[in-house]
Amino acid sequence: VSAVLSWAPQLMAGLLLTLEMTVVAIGLSSAVGFCGGLGLLYGPLPLRAVLRVCVDCVRGLPVLVLIFAVYYLPGVAAMSIDAPTAATIALGIFGGAHLSEVVRGGIGSLPRLQLEAAKAIGLTSGQRLQLIVLPLAIPRMVPPWVNTGVEVLKGTSLASLIGAADLLYIAQSGVGTTFDPLPFYMCAAAIYFSFCFALSRFGTALEDRYRYREY
C-alpha cells in the first residue's frame, strides 16, 4: 500500500491523461456522431451509402484494432503520431460511429406527426431541425450518449498498449517495478470504477428525468 502512495504523483498524472483523452474523444465523437447521424438521415443517397458502410465497419471492429491502425498507419507515409493522440482519434472514430446511430435513431424514431405539423405551419428545414426535431430528439439521445461516454472512458485504457502513459500504463509500470500487483490494480480499478460509475449514474438520472417527457 505504501508503494502505491509513493506512486501517487505518477498515478495522478496518468489519471489526468486518461481524463484528457476521454474528454477530447467524447467531444470528437459527439461532433462526428452529430454530423454522421444527420448525414445518415438527410444526406443524398451516395453520402448515405458511404456513411452506412463506414459506420457499420467501425462498429464491427474491436476498439483495439482501431487504436493500433490509427497508431501505425501514419508509418505508411514515413510519419509518426504520438500514442495519446492516436488513441484519442481512434476513440473519437469509434464513439462517432456509435453516436451516428444514436442520432439517427433518436431523430428517426420521432413521431411523424410532429414533423408534419412543423412542415404544415411553414417552418424551413433549418427551423424545423432547430425548433422541433432537436428539442424533441435530444432527451432520447442522452442516455445512449452517456453510455458511449463510459465505453470511451474504458477504451482509453487500451491506449496503454501503444505506450500512452495513462492510468493503467502507470499502474502496470508500478507493478513491474515493485512486483506487488494487487494494490496497484485495486487502486486503478477503484479510480476507473468511480469515474465510470458516476458517469453511468448521471446517465440514469438524466434518463429518469426525461422519461415522462415523451409526447
Binding site: F68, K154, A189
Partner: protein
C-alpha cells in the same frame, strides 16, 4: 516516400491469422458458456431469492462493468498468482477475465429475460403440479432462452471483438498476429486490412447465422 504493397509476404502469415481466428472464437465461446453459467445463477438469485441477496449481485455487475476489461485481464494474469491461483496461463487467465465480464452483462440479460416471462406461464406450471425444479427446467428456462437469444447472440459477437484484448497477454489471436506482421514486415496497410476483414467477416457471418437461429426458435405469442 512511396508505400510499396507486398501482399505475398503478408499472405505467408495467413495460417497464423487463421489460427488466431480459431483462438479468438474458442475464447469467445468459452467465455460465453462460463459467462452464461454465472449470469444464469446470479439472475435467478436476483429474481427468486429475498431482496437481501440483490445487493451483492448488483455490486458484482456494476464493479465488473465499470472497470476496463484490460485491467481485469491484467488482474487475472499478474494478480491472481499472488492470491494463490498459480495454475492459469495467459489463455486461461484471459478466459477467466472475459467470463467474469460476460457474466456481468449476461446477468442483466437473463434477469430481464426472466422478468419478461408472463406470470401466467408460471402459474399454469404450478397448477399442473410441477415441482420448482421442473418448472425451471421445462417451463421458465426454455421460454427465457427464446426471449434472450437476440441479446445472447449480440453478446457473443461483442465477446469475439473483445478477444482482441488478449493480445495484451501475448495470446496469438488475430490482433496479436496483425501486430506481429506489422512489426516483422512493416506492411502496415496489409496487416491491418487482413485483421479488419477477419473481424468484419466473422461478425457479419455470426450475425446472420444467429439471426437464422432466432427465426427458427422464435416463440409464437
Amino acid at each position: 516516400v512511396t508505400y510499396v504493397f507486398n501482399w505475398p509476404i503478408v499472405f505467408t502469415y495467413l495460417p497464423a491469422f487463421i489460427g488466431g481466428l480459431g483462438i479468438g472464437l474458442g475464447i469467445a465461446l468459452a467465455a460465453l458458456v462460463l459467462g452464461s453459467i454465472i449470469g444464469l445463477a446470479l439472475a435467478s438469485v436476483a429474481t427468486d431469492w429475498p431482496a437481501l441477496f440483490m445487493r451483492p449481485v448488483r455490486i458484482y455487475v456494476e464493479v465488473i462493468r465499470n472497470v476496463p476489461l484490460l485491467l481485469w485481464a491484467y488482474f487475472a494474469f499478474y494478480g491472481l498468482p499472488r492470491l494463490g491461483v498459480r495454475s492459469l496461463d495467459n489463455y486461461s487467465s484471459f478466459v477467466a477475465a472475459l467470463s467474469l465480464y460476460a457474466g456481468a452483462y449476461l446477468t442483466e440479460v437473463f434477469r430481464s429475460g426472466l422478468a419478461s416471462i408472463p406470470a401466467r406461464y408460471r402459474e399454469a406450471a404450478k397448477s399442473l403440479g410441477l415441482t420448482a425444479s421442473q418448472r425451471l427446467l421445462i417451463v421458465t428456462l426454455p421460454l427465457m432462452f427464446r426471449i434472450v437469444l437476440p441479446s445472447l447472440s449480440n453478446t457473443f459477437i461483442s465477446l469475439f471483438k473483445d478477444t482482441s484484448i488478449a493480445a495484451a497477454l501475448a495470446v496469438p489471436e488475430v490482433t496479436f498476429t496483425a501486430q506481429r506482421v506489422n512489426i516483422d514486415t512493416f506492411r502496415i496497410i496489409e496487416a491491418w486490412s487482413i485483421a479488419s476483414v477477419i473481424y468484419l467477416g466473422v461478425g457479419y457471418f455470426l450475425a446472420n447465422l444467429l439471426r437464422l437461429l432466432e427465426r427458427r426458435t422464435r416463440m409464437v405469442r
